[in-house]
Amino acid sequence: MIEALLIKLVIAAVVFGGVLNLAGLHTWVERKQSALIQDRIGANRAPIFGFKLLGLFHAVADAIKMFTKEDVVPRGVDRTLHALAPFFSVFFALVAFAAIPFGPQLVLGERVIDLQVAKIDAALLYIFAMLSLGVYGVILAGFASRNNYAIMGSIRATAQMISYEIALGIALIGVLMVYGTMDLGKAVEAQGHTIAGGWIPLWGIVAQPVGFVVFLTAALAETKRLPFDLPEGESEIIGYFVEYSGMKFGMFFLTDFLETILVACLATTLFFGGWQVPYLQPDGFHFPWGAELPLANWIYVLLGVTSFTIKVLAFCFVFMQIRWTLPRFRYDQLMDLGWKGLFPIAVVNVLVTAVVMILLGGGA
């Protein structure tokens, strides 16, 4: 019993430690990647003992600054809600990671360990619930700030997030139909099959290309980053966290990065085979040209975790690239895209998926 608890604790520590560090690293990636895109050098002025390490210590400097800055609470605000809002945001973004499977089952002697913090049957529903609850942090921040601009910012954010959650949800119904399960671990296992004589792994993107595009767009809108950053708009638009300073502001900042990573994890899990490596089965590689390479369980697990990490990092990179490529939408364009573009496409995608599945004779 104690052992099981300890194992869970270790897994939780690994996941949250990894995720939080990746979020911290995102500030560095954001600076350096944008610098390279825009022919600049980027932040490189935080040496520790003379080592600059490509400006990597700027993330540390940021954290120190955030923690030591004055925390200004405006006069007349609801102090409880004002303090709670950033914690809500971060909390719901963080707990959603619990349901992400980041590796195949690890066999240690008698024990079979799921590399997943919480093995939930309805993991997908759980993640969506947490994503939706994230809106509370946003709306509380605007509401508790006692600032009209903040309220309007939070209303914009809420409208955007709710609109796009619908498209997001419907886009994932197609995926649910293909895998026939809400359990993300089983969904990833289902993506281990291959088609076309074993050449192409049957990942979600092969089965649901349209669903993937809709999911990616809606998920980017969920993260409230460019080109969907109307709720805040770093330099121009007054957002829902104007009245926040110090680490409370830092938490909203962190939430943005956490949501980006969460979306990258979701996209990997649902559409890019999660921890699956092409042609890798639990007992080793089975190449379509007939070659086989048997592997031990721990190598299989290691390859799986590596594969998952690389895919997530690649998605983070692509999201960052998109963020520095596209300009911001106008608000009516945003709503048009959500309701007149993505929503109908997602619905048609579900219908087409259903028809195709019946024609192929598969499905439930």
Binding site: L36, Q38, D39, R40, I41, V213, Q321, T325, L326
Partner: protein, 208 residues
């Protein structure tokens, strides 16, 4: 009445689809990203150093190339014996539109030289960098070619340059050679030279 029909640009089918255009934009950013990434790595190994990976300059370490005609902080030219080339003709003080130059001339101990400046102060906080003083000088004694752009100080007093600083652009206040606060007291006091000028002019008037 003449009517001009303005042709508004219409989006083509591919542009309306939006996604191909996103990919076009991504192609540009990816091209820049990987080009610069490659160049940065190449620079680390000492290759391709003639191609810049960024258009920005790392300012305090790396100065921008200055155009040769750019007017920067003034300097006073120095003769071979260490005395200023200035003859105290007051033309620059007269022509200065900002009235930032103050010259106190004195009779030179050497009868071959008519005058010399005992004080030559420029208040950089007032100077407009018009360059008239350089244009008007008959002796080519003042130039604005030091390349010093980072003229900044925490007080108005520190913006005032005296003769020592003008003759040695590397010097910054306080000037040890004079040892006196601005305006420096080098010069003629009751018919006697005092301050660091004493040595310079002593060497000038009594060589060896």
């Amino acid at each position: 009445m003449a009517v001009k029909v303005v042709q508004r640009p219409q989006l083509t089918f591919w542009e309306k689809l939006y996604i191909p255009q996103i990919l076009c934009g991504l192609r540009i950013t990816f091209r820049h990203f990987f080009r610069n990434l490659f160049l940065h790595i190449a620079h680390r190994f000492g290759r391709k150093t003639d191609v810049r990976a960024g258009v920005t300059y790392q300012y305090p370490e790396e100065l921008r190339p200055l155009f040769s005609r750019l007017r920067t902080r003034h300097r006073l030219m120095v003769r071979g014996n260490g005395a200023p080339r200035c003859v105290g003709c007051m033309l620059c003080e007269t022509v200065c539109p900002a009235k930032c130059i103050t010259i106190v001339p004195a009779e030179h101990p050497d009868p071959d030289v008519e005058k010399f400046p005992v004080r030559f102060d420029i208040n950089l906080g007032v100077c407009v960098y018009c360059g008239y003083c350089v244009e008007v000088c008959p002796e080519d004694a003042i130039r604005m070619d030091t390349g010093i752009l980072d003229i900044a100080a925490t007080s108005r007093e520190a913006m005032k340059l005296d003769l020592h600083e003008l003759m040695n652009p590397e010097l910054r206040k306080p000037v040890a050679a004079c040892g006196l606060d601005f305006p420096h007291q080098c010069g003629v006091h009751g018919g006697e030279l005092r301050g660091s000028w004493e040595e310079t002019l002593a060497a000038l008037t009594h060589p060896e």
